[in-house]
Symmetry: C2
Subunit: 339 residues, 2 copies
């Protein structure tokens, strides 16, 4: 396996170095070909390293960044005023080639705006998108966009299809991933004008286009890639998260109803534990910012170390698979085909 | 309680009279003030009545309709060509005053188009919307639109807020229901232009406007009413349904893994049963077509008799609460306030 250097924005997320540093330590311990640059307030990072019983080393370098992008800071402001933030310096390392990927649990809008400004989009891609992997009954499905683009043109949705197919194809080793267009019915006449036109472009694209899919198809695993605009994708993702949380709370309430149900719950503990592991959203942490000249992965802001480790793992995987290059090549190929 | 007559489109849905007729029988048995007109192919309805050990009676009248709207028929075609369909005749009964509500498990688009054409919208309402009630951690939340309107103007979203507040207020006996606007962030600057403008209208409306909510707020029960365009609402609803189904299948797989987990599953049966009853989506069956001059309720197409009974119950409740009149009054009030 190739050597990979990942730049970690240690200050992002709800917990900062307390979460990001232990995750980085565990990641380099698990992968001898991996080095991580810890970017952020050096005092805070040093303290977190010390708590993990470690010091700075060749494979765990610290890069001091005096500024931090707040979670609720407007992206344009962060881009203009926080040129020495941990997020910005981490992305700069990808631009300069000192790192091959950046991982951040910080402000999504700022991460997207800064990545786009510093790294630029791939030739032929209008706007980058955020893609995540979702557990399904059939395995895993990749979904994009999840919030970077609230309004999308048909061409942008087509490009999401190209990028998503590259991602699913590379990570899951599928020759021609099935791409579905999220809609409110399976018939071609359904949906708004943008979606209908995107459907026509996708049908003519040379991608393995399945056609329209509906919300429930995401978790059925009907297709390998689900594409939608960022507004719809964000709502679908967060609604699902909300439902999962509600069901988990309601199930716990049932267990805690009385001593009989508590005993029954104890008996069923192996089932609950195994089930929880299967659907543990932390294992799916790490959304890819696709369409950039470089690998950038966004961790959930509330991620713990275990979850943040999966985001680092995703970044490493995308570097080793040459994902950005694959997307670039596929865009070129389809554009030549269309020309 | 007032006498209510409900017209049931007996042919709609995946199962037709096999489901709708037993549900109607059970509903009139449970509510002595309720009469139902069974609309559809009289032979099929008669056979279903006979299977239920019943015959036509004063409170279970049969109205023969020679045509049936197919589940995949384009709404405009159904409206133009199926003037003697069970759906159309059932809605006609509401128009003529012979019934106060119509319930159908049929083609949603055709039901909306026909209801709108026959009954007309309330004065001041541009487009009707589909609203459903969702279980939440805090109780119940009403959500609209769920698919009738794929593109909405800010004014239409405002009207959804007015209609949703009337619905939640009447059914849940809340003075000033909290209304939230579904968005991809809580800050006012989030979202697309339509949503931002709708937010401004809602803030100035006199409704108890909470502000933006995100997808996970639906199931947290952050607000009493969640409003969104029909595309987003449909995707959110179906994604959640898909996730719930997936979790249910995965949990069953865990139970059936080996004999030990099967025994554990047996022990936990009381928990699972009680949990299943709590989240049983059949108890939430029945989406309201709001903004019409009359009560129309759409049942899930795959509903069984138990679920279809809840849709009938919702229609009866809306008639007794005078929902259409309440919405009309609230629209007038807000328009006077705005003028």
């Amino acid at each position: 396996m190739a050597n990979v250097v990942v730049a970690t924005d240690c200050m992002g997320g709800d917990h900062g170095p307390e979460v990001t540093v232990p995750a980085a330590v565990a990641a380099v311990d698990a992968d001898p070909q991996l080095s991580i640059v810890l970017v952020g307030l050096s005092d805070a990072i040093g303290a977190a390293l010390a708590r993990a019983g470690r010091a700075e080393s060749d494979r765990l370098r610290v890069l001091h960044a005096p500024e931090v992008v707040a979670m609720d800071e407007p992206p344009a402001g962060a881009l203009r005023n926080k040129k020495k933030s941990s997020m910005r310096l981490a992305i700069n390392l990808v631009k300069s080639g000192e790192a091959q990927a950046c991982v951040s649990a910080g402000n999504t809008g700022a991460l997207m705006a800064t990545s786009r400004f510093v790294l630029k989009t791939l030739h032929g891609i209008e706007r980058p998108a955020i893609a995540a992997v979702m557990p399904t009954l059939a395995g895993r499905t990749y979904m994009l966009d999840l919030g970077a683009n609230v309004d999308c043109t048909p061409v942008e949705l087509l490009q999401f299809g190209i990028m998503g197919a590259s991602l699913a194809g590379a990570v899951e080793h599928i020759e021609a991933p099935k791409v579905g267009l999220l809609n409110i019915g399976v018939e071609d006449i359904k949906g708004n004008d943008t979606v209908k036109q995107a459907g026509e472009l996708l049908r003519a694209s040379g991608l393995n286009f399945y056609g329209n899919v509906e919300g429930d198809d995401i978790f059925k695993g009907t297709v390998d890639v689900v594409i939608c605009d960022g507004f719809v994708g964000n709502v679908a993702l967060k609604s699902s998260e909300g439902l999962a949380q509600m069901l988990s709370v309601l199930l716990r309430r049932e267990v805690e109803r009385n001593w009989l149900t508590r005993v029954a719950g104890l008996c069923a503990l192996p089932i609950f534990r195994s089930f929880k592991r299967t659907v543990d959203h932390r294992r799916y942490n790490g959304a890819s910012l696709l369409g950039l000249q470089g690998v950038v992965v966004k961790s959930h802001g509330s991620a713990d170390s275990f979850a943040f480790g999966f985001a680092i793992g995703r970044a490493v995987e995308e570097v080793r698979l040459g994902l950005a290059e694959r997307i670039g090549a596929r865009v070129n190929l389809l554009q030549q085909g269309a020309a």
